[in-house]
C-alpha cells in the first residue's frame, strides 16, 4: 500500500481554501490494484506455488476461485515473496492452500518469502480458524413448519394461562391496596387518565362521527328500497348504542394506550428499572399496573359514551343533509323506538374491555426481555391480542344478550 502523503511542517504553507490542511495531501488509495494470482510452477526442486498481488478481502472472491482451480495439485512449498499486501482474509486463504504438516495443521514452514510480521499474522489467523465450526443454521423444511405450528399452539395455551395468572395477581394486589387510600397513587392515575382518556377524545369522536355517517348512508341505501328510510334512525341507534360505540372506543384505546403501556413497561424492563423498583421495595404491579388499569376503567366508559354520541351525531348529520330526516324527527324517532336498556347493554361492556386492554398491554410489557427488538415485537403482539380479545368478548356478549332478550 503506497502512501502518498507529504505533510509540510510550516503552517503558512497550507492551502488557503482549506485552512490548516496540506494542499499536497493526496488520498491514499492502493497504488495500482494488482489482482491476486496463485500459480503452479514446476521447478527442479518440485512443484512450487507462487502467490502474488494483493491478497485482501476486496479480491477474496477472485482469489478463492484461483485457489479452487489450483487445488488439484499439492505444492511442496509456496513462494509468497511477490505479495503486495496481505490482510487477515488473504492470510486465511493462503493457509488453506498450504500443505499440511504431520499433525494435520497447515505447515507454516512451507511458505517462503514472508516477512516476520506476515508470519505473525498467519499464526494469529491459524489460531483463530482452528477449532470447531459454528453450529449451522436450522434448515427450513417441512418439519420446521410443523414445529412452528406446534410451537404456536403451545404459545397460545401458555399465553392464556399467563393472562389468567396475571389477572389473579392483579386482583390480589388490588385487594391489598384497596383498604389503604394512601397507596392509591392518584397522581399516576390522573396522568394516565389524561394520556389514555382525555387525549383520546378527539380521535374517538371524529372516527365515530364518520362511521355513524357511513352507517347512515348504508342504512338509507338498503331501507329506502322498502320505503322504510326512517328506519335508518333505528339502525344507527341500535348499532351505536349496543355495539359500535364501545367497539370503536375499545379498538382505538387498544391501539393508542395498550401499545403505549407495553412500550413503557417494556422499556423499563429493558433498562432494569423494574428490578430497581423491586429492590427498593416497591411492587411493580402496584406502581405501574394498577394506576393504568384504574385510569382505563374510568376512561373507557367515558370514551364509549362519547363514541355513541358522536356516532348518533354523524347519523343525524347525514339524515339532515341528504335523507330528509330532520334532527327533531331523528331524536323523536330515537326516543320512541329505542328503550334505554340498549344504551346500558353497550355501556356495561366498556369496563371489561378496559380490563382486557390494560391486562394484555401490561403483561406484554413485562414479557419484554433483553433487546430493543423485543419491545417492538411485544408491542405489536399486545395490540393484536387486545383487539382480538375485545372483538371476541363483544361477539360472545352479542350472542348472550340476544338469547337473554335484552
Amino acid at each position: 500500500m503506497s502512501l502518498l502523503i507529504n505533510r509540510r511542517k510550516r503552517r503558512d504553507a497550507f492551502h488557503p481554501e482549506e485552512p490548516g490542511l496540506d494542499a499536497s495531501l493526496v488520498p491514499m488509495t492502493q497504488a495500482v490494484p494488482m489482482l491476486p494470482r496463485f500459480e503452479i510452477v514446476r521447478t527442479s526442486a518440485g512443484i512450487v506455488s507462487v502467490a502474488r498481488g494483493t491478497w485482501t478481502v476486496d479480491h477474496a472472491a477472485a482469489l478463492s476461485d484461483e485457489l479452487a482451480a489450483a487445488s488439484s495439485t499439492q505444492p511442496a512449498a509456496i513462494d509468497a515473496s511477490g505479495l503486495d499486501s496481505l490482510d487477515s482474509t488473504g492470510a486465511m486463504l493462503l493457509l488453506k492452500a498450504l500443505p499440511l504438516d504431520a499433525s494435520g495443521a497447515p505447515d507454516l514452514e512451507r511458505v517462503n518469502g514472508l516477512t516476520p510480521q506476515r508470519i505473525a499474522l498467519m499464526r494469529r489467523v491459524a489460531q483463530a480458524v482452528d477449532g470447531d465450526s459454528p453450529p449451522p443454521m436450522a434448515p427450513a423444511a417441512l418439519n420446521a413448519l410443523l414445529a412452528n405450528i406446534g410451537a404456536a399452539m403451545l404459545s397460545i395455551l401458555d399465553q392464556g394461562r399467563q393472562l389468567l395468572g396475571f389477572l389473579g395477581l392483579l386482583i390480589t394486589t388490588w385487594l391489598r391496596v384497596l383498604p389503604r387510600p394512601a397507596r392509591w397513587r392518584l397522581t399516576s392515575v390522573v396522568h394516565h387518565l389524561e394520556q389514555s382518556g382525555l387525549n383520546a377524545v378527539p380521535i374517538v369522536a371524529l372516527l365515530s362521527f364518520l362511521v355513524g355517517a357511513v352507517v347512515a348512508y348504508l342504512g338509507a341505501t338498503v331501507l329506502a328500497q322498502f320505503g322504510a328510510g326512517l328506519y335508518t334512525v333505528d339502525l344507527i341507534g341500535f348499532a351505536f348504542l349496543r355495539e359500535f360505540g364501545g367497539l370503536l372506543a375499545a379498538i382505538l384505546v387498544a391501539g393508542r394506550s395498550g401499545s403505549a403501556f407495553t412500550a413503557q413497561i417494556g422499556a423499563m424492563k429493558n433498562r432494569e428499572e423494574i428490578d430497581a423498583l423491586e429492590t427498593i421495595g416497591l411492587d411493580p404491579i402496584e406502581v405501574l399496573v394498577l394506576p393504568r388499569l384504574a385510569a382505563l376503567l374510568v376512561a373507557l366508559p367515558i370514551l364509549t359514551f362519547i363514541a355513541m354520541m358522536a356516532g348518533l351525531l354523524g347519523g343525524m348529520a347525514v339524515g339532515a343533509t341528504s335523507l330528509d330526516i330532520s334532527p327533531v324527527l331523528f331524536i323523536s324517532r330515537l326516543q320512541e323506538s329505542i328503550p334505554p336498556q340498549h344504551f346500558w347493554v353497550g355501556m356495561v361492556k366498556a369496563p371489561f374491555f378496559a380490563l382486557l386492554i390494560a391486562l394484555v398491554g401490561c403483561l406484554e410489557g413485562f414479557k419484554v426481555s433483553g433487546s430493543a427488538e423485543s419491545v417492538g415485537t411485544h408491542t405489536t403482539s399486545s395490540v393484536v391480542q387486545s383487539i382480538f380479545l375485545v372483538i371476541l368478548l363483544d361477539a360472545i356478549c352479542a350472542v348472550v344478550f340476544m338469547e337473554l332478550d335484552w
Partner: protein, 271 residues
C-alpha cells in the same frame, strides 16, 4: 510497530489529520481550533473529563457529525466530502461503539456478515469462512457464533462488536471506551487482544478510554482533550510530566498511582 512492512511509520506519517475543528451545540462550545494527528500503526489513547467531547471528536472524524468549522482528513479522504470520499472511509475504517451496537435481530455471524454483504460480492461459503475467522480473531468461542446479542454477556458483546468492526480488515479502528463495564480481568484481556490485533493486522487504533490500565499498557501516545482542544498528544511519560491541573489530578490520584505501580511491576514499559 506496524505489521505491514510497506508502511513503516515515519515521523509525520499521519492517517488522520484534524485541523481547526470547532463543534458547538447551541451556545455550548465543545471544540474550538482543535488540531490532532494520528500516525499510522499507533494506538492513540484519547482521554478527557466528561463533556470534553471525546465522542463528539470521534463522530466528527468518522463522518457521523458535521463539525461547525475545520477540516478533517482520514487516509487523505474528507469524511464530509464527496460520496466517493465517504465510501472510501466507510470501507477502510470501523467503529466499535460503547455498547457494541450489535444489530439485535441478527446473530453474531450475521452481524459480522453485514459489512461483507454490503461491500463485497462473495460466495456464501467464503463469507461464512471470513465471518468465522473474525469471530475467532476477536476471541469469541465458536458456539457464540449463532447467538443473538441479547444472549451474550457484556464482554462477549464487545468482542462480537470487535469482530464486526474487523469484518473488512479496516486500516483504522475507532474504539469508544472498549473496556468500560468490563471487570478488570476482562478489561486486561481486551487490552491484550487490541494489542495483538494491532500487531498482527497492522491497524491504527483511535481509542477513547477512561481506563488508566489501558493507557499504561497499550497506548503508544495519549491525546488529552481539555480547554476545547487537544492539550497534548505525546507518549505517556511526557503527558504525565505536563504541568496542567487536570492532568495532575488525573495522573497523580491514588487510582493512577496504583495503575502505574502495577504496570511498572509487570516490567513492560509503555510502547
Amino acid at each position: 510497530m506496524s505489521a505491514q512492512p510497506t508502511c513503516t511509520p515515519a515521523a509525520d506519517d499521519s492517517v488522520i489529520q484534524v485541523r481547526g475543528l470547532a463543534n458547538r451545540f447551541g451556545t455550548q462550545v465543545v471544540h474550538e481550533g482543535l488540531d490532532l494527528d494520528v500516525r499510522r500503526g499507533e494506538i492513540l489513547g484519547v482521554i478527557g473529563g466528561s463533556g470534553t467531547g471525546k465522542s463528539v471528536l470521534m463522530r466528527s472524524i468518522v463522518g457521523l457529525r458535521r463539525p461547525n468549522e475545520g477540516n478533517v482528513r482520514v487516509l487523505g479522504f474528507d469524511p464530509h466530502g464527496s460520496e466517493e470520499d465517504r465510501a472510501a472511509i466507510e470501507r477502510r475504517t470501523a467503529v466499535l461503539f460503547q455498547e457494541g451496537a450489535l444489530f439485535s435481530s441478527l446473530d453474531v455471524t450475521e452481524n459480522v456478515e453485514v459489512a461483507l454483504r454490503q461491500h463485497l460480492d462473495l460466495p456464501s461459503q467464503l463469507r461464512g469462512d471470513i465471518a468465522r475467522l473474525k469471530i475467532g480473531l476477536s476471541g469469541l468461542p465458536m458456539d457464540a457464533a449463532r447467538k443473538l446479542p441479547s444472549e451474550l454477556s457484556g464482554g462477549m458483546k464487545k468482542r462480537a462488536g470487535l469482530a464486526r468492526a474487523l469484518a473488512l480488515d479496516p486500516d483504522i479502528l475507532f474504539l469508544d471506551e472498549p473496556t468500560a463495564g468490563l471487570d478488570p480481568v476482562g478489561a486486561a484481556q481486551f487490552d491484550e487482544l487490541i494489542l495483538t490485533l494491532r500487531d498482527a493486522l497492522g491497524l491504527t487504533v483511535f481509542l477513547i478510554t477512561h481506563d488508566l490500565d489501558t493507557l499504561f499498557t497499550i497506548c503508544d501516545r495519549v491525546a488529552v482533550l481539555a480547554e476545547r482542544r487537544v492539550l497534548i498528544n505525546a507518549p505517556l511519560p511526557e503527558v504525565i510530566a505536563l504541568p496542567h491541573p487536570w492532568i495532575r489530578e488525573y495522573f497523580h490520584g491514588p487510582r493512577a498511582r496504583a495503575a502505574q505501580n502495577a504496570h511498572d511491576a509487570a516490567g513492560t514499559p509503555p510502547a
